[in-house]
């Protein structure tokens, strides 16, 4: 695989005088001595190199991207154009509010809209991603108990189907993590929950619908029990695409809810960010939200630094504004009607795919799902793993689903097709999955050897971990 460090350098264009010492008064020992080893390239070399690299990637525009819990929906082109406008892109965050009323107005409106979607009264836009939203939520809960003199509430309960970020965020905020075993159908065991609730309970972290794509039938009972025990309910919003515009976390008993704008509200994932993870909270947590808050006096938008019970800041400025503006454009375009259609078609497509695949692959929980469902690769054929199935899907032209998650399903294949697919592409994916199941029985070597159609085939992870090469090895 060629990197830019392998490309031939052209002659530097610098005039010598440009490179003379530029910092008067700098101690000579503090001036850089060793030259940077970044090659000097001409623009066509760079354009070709990165175009070539881009062809070795798979994006949403390339085809179905059924990553469960990631909501890889289409990213509208308009959004990129809007945020690239200099009026939005070329503004420093320290700009006096009166000169940036447009951005502040959009951010303020966005927080009002997100609050309404969540059914909760207040929102912070600062968190930079979903996990950052979780961490912010944990900070808010910690501060809540601190101000009430209940520091002994140090335990966060979560289920064994939770995203890995949930326990990691709770731990980072200093909470103890208590994992609750799910019922055999993957939903919360309310009796077991009731048994562990006590004076140490700070709260519960829930994903609704859960990571099996199933709506918690007793959600209101779950949240009521936690509230009765003096705890708070945190909702992970990764799966909001399944009910947006039709139901609200606030009505389910959520005290804190985080959005993933890069999932539900169509902003591109960027190969791993930037995302945006706004957090909505109930009234009793509002005083602790990060500062500055964006306020509106009916005429002008400004910054409010006053809340003295605030946790502080989780972002140096206002959050990932460029991402938030794209999500704002998406909400404006969709409106109420469009949002209700998003969740309806997301669920329709998932249920249709589930229906098409459940007789071919093991479906541990056979019922109405929401926007995603989980199959097991177990039992497809002797010696064939979920990895084999996933890798063979690549040869059929599809991005694989999320694999080996949730942990409570062996050999899990977690499939989320999203609303932005045609029936034709869903059928093509289902046909590929069926064909792979047949191959698994008759030609298992095709699965073991997959993928064969890619620039590189299966990579040696052990070698990568054992002898880490994490940067270009320059010849010395």
């Amino acid at each position: 695989m060629t990197t830019i460090f392998d490309l031939p350098s052209v002659s530097p264009t610098a005039r010598r005088d440009d490179l003379s010492p530029a910092i008067p008064g700098l101690e000579p020992a503090l001036a850089r001595r060793k030259a940077l080893r970044v090659p000097t390239l001409a623009e066509p070399q760079i354009a070709r190199h990165y175009t070539k690299l881009s062809r070795m990637n798979y994006g949403v525009d390339d085809g179905l991207y059924p990553l469960g819990s990631c909501t890889m929906k289409y990213n509208p082109k308009l959004h990129e154009q809007l945020v690239a406008m200099p009026e939005f892109a070329d503004v420093h965050p320290g700009t006096p509010p009166r000169l940036a009323q447009g951005t502040l107005a959009a951010l303020h409106r966005m927080s009002v809209l997100l609050a309404a979607i969540a059914g909760l009264p207040a929102v912070t836009l600062q968190p930079s991603a979903g996990a950052h939203g979780e961490l912010t939520g944990m900070f808010l809960m910690k501060r809540f108990f601190e101000t009430r003199g209940e520091k002994e509430r140090n335990t966060i309960i979560l289920t064994d189907s939770a995203h890995g970020t949930n326990p990691a965020s709770a731990a980072l905020a200093g909470f103890r993590v208590l994992e609750l075993k799910s019922l055999s159908d993957g939903t919360v065991d309310v009796d077991a929950l009731t048994n562990v609730l006590d004076e140490h309970t700070a709260g519960i972290m829930l994903t609704v619908p859960n990571t099996l794509g199933l709506f918690e039938p007793r959600i209101r009972e779950v949240t009521a029990r936690v509230h009765e025990a003096g705890g708070l309910c945190y909702f992970d919003g990764a799966n909001l695409n399944s009910y947006i515009g039709r139901a609200r976390p606030g009505d389910m008993g959520a005290d804190v809810f985080h959005f993933n704008l890069h999932k539900t509200l169509s902003t591109p994932h960027g190969g791993g960010g930037p995302g945006s993870g706004p957090v909505a909270v109930a009234e009793h947590l509002e005083p602790f939200l990060p500062v500055p808050r964006i306020d509106f006096d009916g005429e002008r938008y400004g910054l409010d630094w006053s809340p003295d019970q605030t946790i502080g800041s989780v972002h140096p400025y206002f959050g990932n504004v460029g991402v938030i503006l794209k999500a704002f454009a998406y909400l404006l375009r969709l409106g109420d009607q469009g949002l209700a259609e998003v969740s309806a078609y997301a669920c329709l497509h998932a249920n249709y795919l589930q229906h098409r695949l459940k007789d071919v692959y093991k479906l541990p929980y056979d019922r109405l799902c929401k926007h995603e469902f989980v199959l097991s690769g177990e039992g497809v054929a002797e010696g064939v793993t979920t990895t084999d199935i996933a890798k063979r899907l690549i040869d059929f032209g599809f991005h694989p689903p999320t694999v080996y998650f949730p942990l409570i399903v062996h050999q899990a294949l977690m499939i989320e097709p999203t609303e932005t697919e045609t029936k034709e592409s869903l059928d093509a994916f289902a046909d590929a999955m069926v064909a792979i199941a047949k191959e698994a029985a008759n030609h298992p070597e095709r699965l073991h050897e997959a993928p064969i159609s890619t620039p590189v085939r299966r990579l040696d992870q052990t070698q990568a971990a054992r002898e880490p090469i994490l940067r270009h090895p320059f010849e010395t």
């Binding site: 610098a14 940077l36 990165y50 404006l332 991005h399």
Partner: protein, 440 residues
């Protein structure tokens, strides 16, 4: 049906296949009292043209971008972004891809991550770098948490001269993790004073150039802080001409990567830089790409050292971070590739030269003088004879933006303003800026 390509006929066919007769029945598993509670937002659906018009109207209320020249800084700077950068980012294979969990179809993202890590190692002089964190502020907070994990202590000394937003984020994380932060004062030369350090520190955190613009001299600091880790927050472009922190024995180097080809976008998205030494790899937060080979012996890239991460280690992970700033890291990679070593040095030199030129001009004004004698890169602080907010306002009226002087009051510095200059500021702008400053 804005972005939903399903035809009515296909909808009916799919409903009938799953034995339902309407879309609403897909929500039969949600308790009725929850569905009944839903309230519409009161939002009509707009056409694409109407959304674009709405944004144009909002844009008109953002005069900062077009009608003002920016001398703002504090970690976010107005550097020129070559056209190749947004072009590469606009390719949807990069922009719309997920985190590269499937390396065979993610070699584009993974190769760029490897290039990025190499460039950050080159800039900082460190042995390893991750593929990005959210921003420079959370990168510093993560460095503090990492130092605590390594040293198993909870006390950290931190220079007072951090940028305001960075300091706020650090304080928030420190409160939650029950870290005791001890503030190190600023000496008469504008540099952090490392004397009289308390015992049992897990780390010493310092920013260079610091919030007053002064380039710290960290020689000897490592010896003075015992076994505490030295964590340095940097301005990446300055490292093209300033000696990298590795040369003074830094254990962790972090920084805000925005100057490397990202627009300012009212402060986000940003790019957290994070580099350290190889011996600390198991403690490092964030994604890492590594080179390996495939079953046919061809070289390729994959994410590695994932056993540190939340999706495997859960509550024992080194960080909760998942989505980070991959596309911003790609921007920085393309930016550095397009400039090359010489270009980066020229951007750094030109920014510094113009900053010093402006500082010299301002010092000609009666009552205006540099606050500290220490050397500065592209940002400096000058004492002013009048109320600094008056200068701030006068400059605004003259078409210039500088940081709010209240950023400095936090550092105990009154009657002063901080000014940042990049290679984009013209001689004409520097002259006019000086004139407006003088007349304020």
């Amino acid at each position: 049906m804005r972005y939903i390509p399903t035809s009515d006929a296909d909808r009916e066919a799919m409903l009938s296949a799953i034995g339902l007769s309407s879309l609403d029945e897909l929500f039969a598993d949600i308790p009725a009292e929850i569905l009944d509670g839903n309230k519409p937002l009161g939002l009509p659906s707009l056409t694409e043209q109407e959304v674009a018009a709405t944004f144009s109207q909002l844009a008109q209320r953002n005069p900062a971008a077009r009608a003002f020249a920016s001398f703002q800084g504090g970690g976010i700077y107005d550097h020129y972004v070559p056209a190749i950068v947004p072009y590469v980012l606009s390719r949807s294979e990069f922009a719309t891809a997920y985190t590269p969990y499937q390396p065979e179809i993610s070699q584009g993202t993974l190769t760029a991550m490897f290039e990025f890590q190499t460039m950050i190692c080159e800039l900082t002089g460190m042995e390893i770098a991750n593929a990005s964190l959210y921003d420079g502020a959370t990168a510093l907070a993560e460095a503090a948490l990492m130092a605590n994990r390594i040293r198993r202590r909870h006390r950290i000394a931190v220079s007072r001269a951090l940028f305001a937003g960075v300091a706020r984020v650090l304080q928030t994380y420190a409160w939650a993790a029950e870290i005791e932060l001890i503030e190190l004062p600023i000496g008469p030369d504008g540099r952090t004073v490392f004397d009289h350090l308390p015992e049992d520190l897990s780390a010493v955190l310092v920013q260079s150039p610091n919030a007053l613009g002064i380039i710290e001299d960290l020689r000897g600091v490592k010896d003075a802080i015992g076994d505490a880790l030295l964590v340095v927050s940097v301005h990446p472009i300055s490292l093209a001409i300033i000696e990298p922190p590795a040369s003074v024995g830094a254990d962790i180097v972090v920084g805000e990567g925005q100057p490397l080809g990202l627009t300012r976008s009212f402060g986000g998205p940003l790019l957290g830089l994070f580099a350290t030494q190889e011996r600390y790899i198991r403690h490092m937060p964030g994604r890492i790409a590594g080179r390996t080979s495939d079953v046919d012996g061809r070289s390729g890239f994959t994410m590695t050292a994932q056993t540190r991460e939340q999706h495997i280690r859960r509550q024992r992970a080194t960080s909760n971070i998942c989505t980070n700033s991959a596309l911003c890291a790609l921007a920085a990679t393309v930016y550095m590739a397009s400039l090359g070593a010489d270009g980066l040095a020229r951007v750094a030199s030109a920014s510094a030269r113009r900053a010093h030129d402006l500082c010299d001009r301002l010092e000609q004004i009666s009552g205006v003088s540099r606050l500290f004698p220490g050397p500065f890169f592209n940002e400096f602080t000058v004492r002013v004879p009048q109320d600094p907010s008056r200068i701030h306002r006068a400059l605004q009226q003259g078409g210039f933006l500088i940081d709010d002087p209240s950023d400095l009051s936090r550092l105990g510095v009154e009657n002063a303003v901080r000014i940042a200059v990049t290679e984009k500021r013209t001689d004409e702008e520097l002259k006019r800026f000086t004139r407006v400053f003088e007349e304020a």
